[in-house]
Symmetry: C2
Subunit: 277 residues, 2 copies
């Protein structure tokens, strides 16, 4: 492997790591770079092992050294440019003090179709109107931990490949298959028909059916639909599902954080599977 | 009620709201003010309704107007000074742009003893070594939503009354009783004996017992112990409990976020209670 030491913050080889606070707010939009940025050894490694082609690594000398000495990393970074910089140079390039000291920039992998993402899946989660990057990252992390096989996006969701989502997901955004439904904000629900054979369960406080009742019988394939905190799922989305289910809550309290509510749904699903499988 | 309009950021009446980014990092330490700061109408209202004595309100004209017009608020703010400021003045005083536009400063209420906090409680959560304000806030929010009656602190936890914890908790830090065990980091576990009649359950991945098994029989009183992400509970703490229990996780994935893991434990406890009560 070849490591280049760069001391000039304006060096164009560092352009992939420039102004990260701004330019990747919406990497899918003009002005964004469309790159996937990962931070820290654990997530950078997951990126190197993923289907996302890594363009370059950048880090502090000590961090790079210990990372490159990890078993298997030398093979993973073969042919990938590695830039060694000081903390000051990286702070000036990235626009913030990246104390983790290790970054990777990757290209976006080709998008999966819904059919590809759910192939062989027994449990999937579908998001509608979730604009919060932290909740999206949290859902991927919880999904990975509790046996959810794919994440699907309906309308009006934020980009799961945004830097903050990738970080909060612990890199699971790069590992767990995900796909976007087509259609407009009002028509994507028709495509739920692609999920043939799945029991479609809407998570909502406005029902008397408990989550555990909705999952009774441990159906072979389950899709859990969640909407944003506050507005929740649209009526149109819920109407396209088989059952509406709630997490029992103390009356008069606030609803749970979205990633937390999703985690509880994943837990209940896994609980049913463990009991009956 | 009497509203004072203040246009001078150096006005000493605004001192309770000064430099909030810095001075309340550790309000319990010298240099911190020891005040409880709440933000936004929902949480400010909960503060006014709590046992924490509110010293002053501060907000933008429009935000104050709509808040003070809420049913019941006039009675709650009787005798409390209200300061009306512009966004610019508040930003200069507080040290950040408080877009919610409404703040309250309260004194700390007298600390509860463990015995007071658990009086009548059927489910409590005990934290050990949890230094993350967001996780502490999240645990209070989830506890309130899922029927947990009190939060107890073992050794080495962050201050639950820190501004960020209060906000993430949605103000439930001010409503749900909490107390600190005495003793040193190595001796507080002896005081777990105060929880006479509780089944003490340690949450840890390093056991074969599932959470649902640990809660079987729906014991009348349950205390759930959780440690920090990463290190988890100390062996000493776990040894002082009746049973160690895990949330089933996909092998090779990361452990859950602490507040999420706690939420799942609360859910499982509530699930058992709902089934059998």
């Amino acid at each position: 492997m070849e490591i280049s030491h760069i001391s000039d913050p304006s060096d164009p080889r560092l352009d992939d790591f420039r102004d990260l606070k701004h330019s990747d707010n919406r990497p899918d939009l003009p002005g964004g770079k469309g790159l996937v940025i990962t931070e820290g050894p654990l997530v950078v490694r997951r990126c190197l092992e993923s289907r996302f082609p890594v363009r370059a690594l950048c880090g502090f000398e000590a961090k790079l050294e210990s990372f490159l000495a990890e078993p298997g990393v030398a093979e993973l970074v073969a042919g990938i440019p590695i830039y060694c910089v000081t903390r000051e140079v990286l702070a000036e390039v990235a626009g913030y003090d990246m104390h983790r000291g290790l970054l990777a920039a990757a290209d976006r992998a080709p998008a999966l179709s819904v059919a590809e993402a759910i192939e062989g899946a027994r449990t999937v989660v579908i998001l509608e109107g979730v604009g919060d990057h932290e909740n999206i990252g949290g859902i991927f992390r919880n999904a990975a931990g509790m046996g959810v096989d794919a994440v699907l996006f309906g309308a009006a969701c934020a980009d799961p490949l945004y830097r903050r989502s990738v970080r909060v997901s612990m890199g699971h955004v790069l590992r767990t298959p995900f796909a976007h439904f087509g259609g407009t904000p009002r028509t994507w629900q028709h495509e739920l028909g692609l999920l043939d054979g799945f029991r479609l369960v809407s998570l909502t406080p406005n029902t008397d059916t408990l989550l555990k009742e909705a999952l009774e019988g441990n159906p072979d394939r389950v899709a859990l639909l969640v909407g944003a905190e506050g507005p929740g799922l649209t009526e149109r989305a819920m109407r396209a599902t088989h059952v509406r289910a709630k997490i029992p809550m103390t009356p008069g309290t606030d609803s749970l954080n979205l990633a937390t509510a999703a985690a509880i749904a994943f837990y209940e699903r896994q609980r049913a599977q463990l009991q009956l499988d």
